[in-house]
Each structure stands twice: as C-alpha cells, then as structure tokens.
C-alpha cells in the first residue's frame, strides 16, 4: 500500500493539475477507454482538478456494460438449467437481462457462484464431475489470458463437464469504431493500462497515425491519470499524435508475449455485438475451432436467444461518449442502481453507476464548478 500511496499524493496531484492548466489553451475532449479509469476519476474527483478546457469523456471499456443482452439472456438460460453450476465474476450478477438477472435466477434455486478466477471454476468442475460447470468469460484483453488458461487446463485434465460462455471484447477495434462514428468528439485517448500490460503498445501506432489522434497508455491511480491527461494535452497543443506510454512501470511495447500466445491458441477473432453500440467488426474473441467443444453456447443450444433493450436506455450514447450519464433523461429517475435499465448503471465500473454513486445527480456542494458533470 506504500506503493499505492505514492500515486495518490495530494501535492503532486496539485502540481500536475497546475501544469495541465498552464498547457491547455483550447478545448480538448479526452476519452479514458477503461471503466476502471472512469471509476478512479469519479471516486477521487480527478476531473474536478482539471481546467475547463479539458473534458473527460467516459469510454466503452467496462466489460460488464458492453456485454450484449443476448449473452446475459443466454447466461440466465444456462444458469437455470438443472445440474449446472454457473460461475461468474461478482459484478455480472446484477446486470439485467431481458427480464431477470443472475441474482434473481439464483434466488429461485439456480446454483450461481461468484468466483475470483476462471481457474476456480475449473477446480469446481473437477470436484463436481456429475455437474456441468459453466464460466461466464467476459472482459477485455485483460481477462483473456486466464480464461484461455482455464480452457487449456480443462482439456489437460480431461474435464468434459467444463465450458465457457465467451463474450470477449477488444480495445483497438472499439477505438477505431469511435473515431469513425459520425458524432465523434474525441481528440485523444487514454489507453487502458491493464489491457496494454497484456497486449503491449504495438497495436496502437497505426491507429494514432490513421486517425491523427494521440494515444497515451495510462494507469489507474489519480497521479497516473493526471500524468496521462497532461501528456495527451501536451501532444494536442503541439499538434502531435503519437503513442506514449505513461504507465511504464507496468506496460512494455511487446506486452506479455506468453499470454498473447495462449490467447492466439485458444481464441479466434469474431464480429462482436457491443451492448448499446452494435456490432463492431473483428472486435471480439470466440473459442478457436480446436476448442469449440468447450463452448457453452453450443453445448446448451442457446445460440438463437435474441433480446430487446429498454427504449429509454441511452447507454450506447454514454459508451460512445456523446452523452454524459446525468444528461440521460432516465438517469436517476427510471434508471437507478436499484432499477437499472442498462448495464452502465449496474457495474461498479459503469459510467452511469459511477456518476450515481458519487452523487453526480447534484453538484457536490463544497466542490467548485465541475464542468464535467454540468
């Protein structure tokens, strides 16, 4: 924790914020890609330290939020199947499907369990050989290596009762989709540090060059975020559009090559629907053909489940960065963490939930003008 305290120092934060104020002369919109970054920004109030020129737009990088409704409904269908032990990370349990969520299915008797690692689900499959054990494998590139390892391990151990419901999504195609979208306002990206710790930074220079957009790999602590913002603003003011690594204590150019090899073996690219946004070409991973026997969608014949979103929910606009959560007409009215219409209000990393929990329904009375929430 000493290590963390270094990146939360108030004096350094003030110095970095002053530097950003000094450098910024024109309005700039920066998108932090990752939901973990959004959470840290709101929780620590990083945006309150920024000058009015610098606006933060919250990106689509919450895996819980962008998991399509169909996948949730398939998960609910599989979880309710007798004999199934359905394993998931904790924050998927409250995400609403068309009618229900996993907590409700659990309350009606389904065996739904929170695990901290897909490897825990493999262990469950080994110790419950008479049950089907299914793991809900969602997430960006960050969670993919462990999910891939779980499948490899299950095959090594000959576990025929283990499968994955896969809905992996990828950052670079999302950046491309945002830059191509008609209403795009993003001038620079804070790339997700944890994704880059796995994948490296080598995927980003072509994107930065093609869209002439600075991409700064950024961490999650307040000082990491301020430093990432500072570097992005410096680039914008200088008219540069480079890939910079502001999270070098974790991220290298090549990334974790062993993890990338396992991913390449177990997963294959696929067009993926993003909740609220739509299908983005080659923006996800499915199980590779050699591992299709571990695919829960095939095993449980839920591939044709379709679903309809609430017409009130505008989480797609929030995820694309064209709408602030508290600008949505349903925010805090029809849609609250207790009655979420979309996943962005459910996940602790979701932008709507982050705004709601930080009380951004109203201006913090003791804070100064916080343009990002106005």
């Amino acid at each position: 924790m000493k290590h963390l305290a270094e990146y939360r120092d108030a004096d350094t934060a003030r110095r970095l914020a002053a530097e950003i104020r000094r450098v910024a002369t024109r309005p700039w919109a920066l998108m932090e890609v990752c939901g973990g970054q959004t959470h840290s920004i709101i929780r620590n109030g990083v945006d309150q330290l920024l000058p009015p020129e610098v606006e933060l737009i919250h990106g689509p990088g919450c895996p819980v939020c962008v998991t399509p409704l169909e996948t949730i409904d398939r998960a609910l269908g599989i979880a309710a199947t007798p004999g199934v032990i359905f394993c998931s990370f904790g924050d998927m349990l409250r995400v609403p499907g068309s009618r229900d969520n996993l907590l409700a299915v659990k309350a009606r008797g389904a065996d739904v369990r929170v695990v901290y690692s897909p490897l825990d689900a493999v262990t469950l499959a080994r110790t419950h050989s008479d049950r089907e054990v299914v793991f809900l494998a969602i997430g960006f590139e960050t969670t993919a290596p462990a999910n891939a390892m779980a499948v490899k391990l299950a095959r090594q151990q000959g576990l025929a009762n283990f499968s994955l419901l896969v809905s992996h999504v990828l950052v670079p195609p999302a950046i491309e989709a945002i830059m191509r979208s008609p209403g795009n306002r993003v001038n620079a990206f804070l790339a997700a540090g944890h994704v880059c710790s796995v994948m490296g930074t080598w995927q980003y220079p072509p994107l930065a060059a093609r869209f002439r957009v600075p991409i700064v790999v950024t961490g999650f602590e307040p000082l990491d975020l301020l430093e990432g913002i500072r570097r992005a603003v410096v680039q914008l003011e200088a008219g540069r559009h480079d890939v910079e690594n502001a999270y070098a204590r974790v991220v290298t150019e090549l990334g974790n090559e062993a993890a990338q090899r396992v991913i390449a073996e177990v997963f294959a690219p696929v067009d993926r629907a993003w909740r609220g946004i739509g299908v983005i070409p080659a923006s996800g991973w499915r199980l590779a053909d050699a591992y299709r026997d571990f695919d829960a969608e095939l095993r449980f014949a839920v591939g044709d489940v379709t679903a309809v979103e609430s017409p009130l929910c505008r989480s797609g606009d929030v995820l694309k960065g064209t709408l602030k959560p508290n600008q949505c007409p349903a925010f805090g009215r029809e849609c609250t963490p207790r009655t979420p219409l979309g996943a962005t209000m459910v996940s602790s990393e979701g932008a709507c939930a982050a705004y709601y929990h930080a009380g951004r329904r109203v201006e913090p009375a003791t804070a100064g003008a916080t343009h990002a929430s106005s």
Partner: protein, 359 residues
C-alpha cells in the same frame, strides 16, 4: 506446606455422555429429554449463572436499584447469521453477545442481561454448538452481562447454516444521558474509535478462501466500557453508532438523514489497516462500506472532541480513535468526502451486498 488453591468449578462440564449421536437431531428441539440434555450439557456449562440455573420458562430480574434516581431501560434485539461460524478474531458466539451489547451501548446503556435463541441445523456436530456456546459464555463474562434465558429449535438439514442465534438485551441508561440525532449541531465533530473494515474483510478472506500476506482478524468487541469512558469525559455526546453491516458509509448516511444536516469527512483521516486496504483494493471493495463489529462512530460537540478523544485512546477498544470529519449545514442530508487528492465526492450508501469486481 502451603495449601493448594481451591479447585475452579466455574467451567465444570458434566462428563456423562449425551444419548446416541454426537450430532444435533430434530429431537434436540422437541422439548423432551434430548432438549433437556442439550441444555444441561451444552448451554448451562457455558452460561453459568444463578439466574439461568432455575431453567424456568422465563427469568425474573430485579432492576429497582438500577432504575432508582432516573435511570431508564434500554432494549435491543438482533439476529446473527454468519458463515463460517468461526473466523479469525471471533465466532458467531462473540458476535451474538457483542453485537447486542453494542446496540445497547449506542444509546449510552450499560448492558445487564441477554436472552439467547438458537436455531440449529440438524446434523451440526454437538461439539461445534458447544464451542459456539462456550465462546458466547466467555464473551458475556468479558462484557459483564448475564445470559438469563434461552430457547433452542432444530430445523431440518439444509434449512440453516449450522446455527443462527438471536439475542435480546436489557440495559440501563444512566440519568442525564440523552443520545439522539436531535442533539446534533453544525460544528460537531465526527470521531471513529479505530480502524474500519476489519470484520468484513476477515469474513470475506476466509469465506472466499483468499489469503493475504497479513491475516486480517475481526474486531468484534464489546464497546460499552469505551462508551462509559467517553460519557465520563463528556456527558453531552450527541450521537453514537456502531457501523456494522453497510459500514461507515451507511452509518454516516443514516446520521445525515436523521439530522437533516451534512457531514464532511476527510479520506486521509479515516484509519484503515494496510492489510484491509490492500484486500479491498484487490477485490474492488470500498472499505467505508465494509462491516465493523467492534468500532463506533461518535458525533460530539466540537469543544469537547479533544477530551473525548483522549478518553477513547485511554481505553483498550479506542486506542486508534481519531476525528474523521464534522457536521456542516451545507449539503443537508449528504455525506461528502474530501478525497486524497483534494477533490470532493459524495459518499453513497451501499445498495445491498458488495460484489467483487471483474478486474
């Protein structure tokens, strides 16, 4: 030659074996011979006291001396469901005593008597129940309260988590003590009696099989002694809360709602053990929303804060006491936290159970 010390018979347990099975069966809750045996072999040895020994349907206690001069009765009840039954730093037995003792203490009460109701799951080893009862007995003795009447029911296997316990408590509020939200004023100071989040993270680390470098132990403890020391330093304490389920965030939110005033706290002032902070970081939990079982929050007049803090620090359960914030008339009914980097955010009350995050 010196005479040997007289034998200590207070912990005597009857060595005669219980009939048949060393596990709880439905008959143990049936009121017949098995029930009687369970009381005599498990509960009486653990809760030894003259009032219980009568084994009537109820127990008569004499509070005339306590109530003379304007003392008032304070009553509370709470039910305890926790898995696992034993965890680092405590057990369901400790919680069942200390939890109700603390509820009484938050009104300024001196706890006197407890009742205990057990709902036991068929198949629980009797040894486990005896250990739970023994822990309750020790906690009661440490807190200076008597468990004076009780009840046991047995439910079918699969219908309970081993054992659920309900305790109700009776205490005495001394004359002249009025603790309640109506007394709170802007300018009052908010004190915390020590580190937050210990109990919840201790439970989570054993329940989920997570091991951290340093073991995290529950803080379960009776707080009425601490409260008495605080009241001795300043009888005008405004409000006391023990931040159990929902943690400090919930208690502060309730205080703000009950008083109609705002509360401002400083993130850097809130004491959190490094191991608890690290575990919360790993699991994506907010330590302010994690349960405590041996801590209190106090709202006190600004002018008396230093004296009360000194009294708290002189007590074994208040050594790490600090001021964490103050009551303000801005932002009514809201709790606002000044963050580590000098910004502000509103502290929300948690919706329900906290769920660990994906990454």
């Amino acid at each position: 030659m010196p005479r040997p010390d007289p034998p200590d018979v207070s912990r005597f347990t009857c060595p005669a074996p219980l009939a048949d099975d060393p596990h709880i069966v439905l008959g143990h809750g049936g009121g017949g011979t098995l029930s009687r045996e369970l009381i005599e072999h498990v509960f009486l040895p653990a809760f030894t006291n003259p009032l219980l020994a009568g084994l009537g349907d109820s127990t008569v206690v004499d509070l005339a001396a306590d109530l003379a001069g304007g003392g008032r009765l304070v009553l509370s009840t709470d039910s305890y469901v926790v898995r696992p039954l034993f965890f680092p730093g405590g057990s369901i037995g400790d919680l069942a005593v200390n939890g109700t003792v603390n509820d009484l203490a938050m009104s300024g009460g001196r706890p006197r008597y407890l009742t205990a109701g057990f709902i036991v799951e068929e198949g629980l080893p009797i040894g486990t129940l005896a250990e739970v009862a023994a822990r309750m007995g020790r906690a009661a003795a440490a807190a200076g309260v008597m468990i004076v009447t009780g009840d046991t029911k047995v439910v079918e296997r699969g219908h309970g988590d081993g054992v659920y316990i309900n305790t109700a408590g009776v205490g005495i509020v001394p004359p002249g003590i009025t603790i309640g939200p109506e007394a709170v004023r802007p300018g009052d100071v908010v004190l915390a009696s020590g580190t937050v989040g210990d109990h919840g993270m201790a439970i989570m680390s054993v329940r989920e099989g997570l091991s951290f470098e340093a073991e995290i132990a529950s803080d379960t403890a009776p707080l009425h002694g601490l409260v008495a020391a605080m009241l001795a330093a300043c009888p005008a304490i405004r409000l006391l809360r023990d931040p159990t389920r929902g943690g400090v965030a919930t208690s502060l939110g309730e205080i703000a709602a009950a008083t109609g005033l705002g509360i401002e706290i400083d993130e850097r002032a809130v004491p959190i053990r490094p191991a608890v902070a690290a575990a919360c970081e790993i699991l994506g939990l907010d330590p302010l929303q994690v349960a405590n079982e041996g801590k209190l929050l106090a709202v006190v007049p600004g002018g008396a804060a230093a004296a009360i803090l000194a009294a708290m620090r002189g007590h074994e359960h208040g050594r790490d006491a600090v001021a964490i914030g103050r009551v303000v008339d801005g932002h009514p009914r809201r709790v606002v936290m000044r963050t580590r980097i000098g910004a502000t955010r509103i502290v929300p009350m948690p919706l329900g159970e906290q769920l660990p995050r994906i990454c």
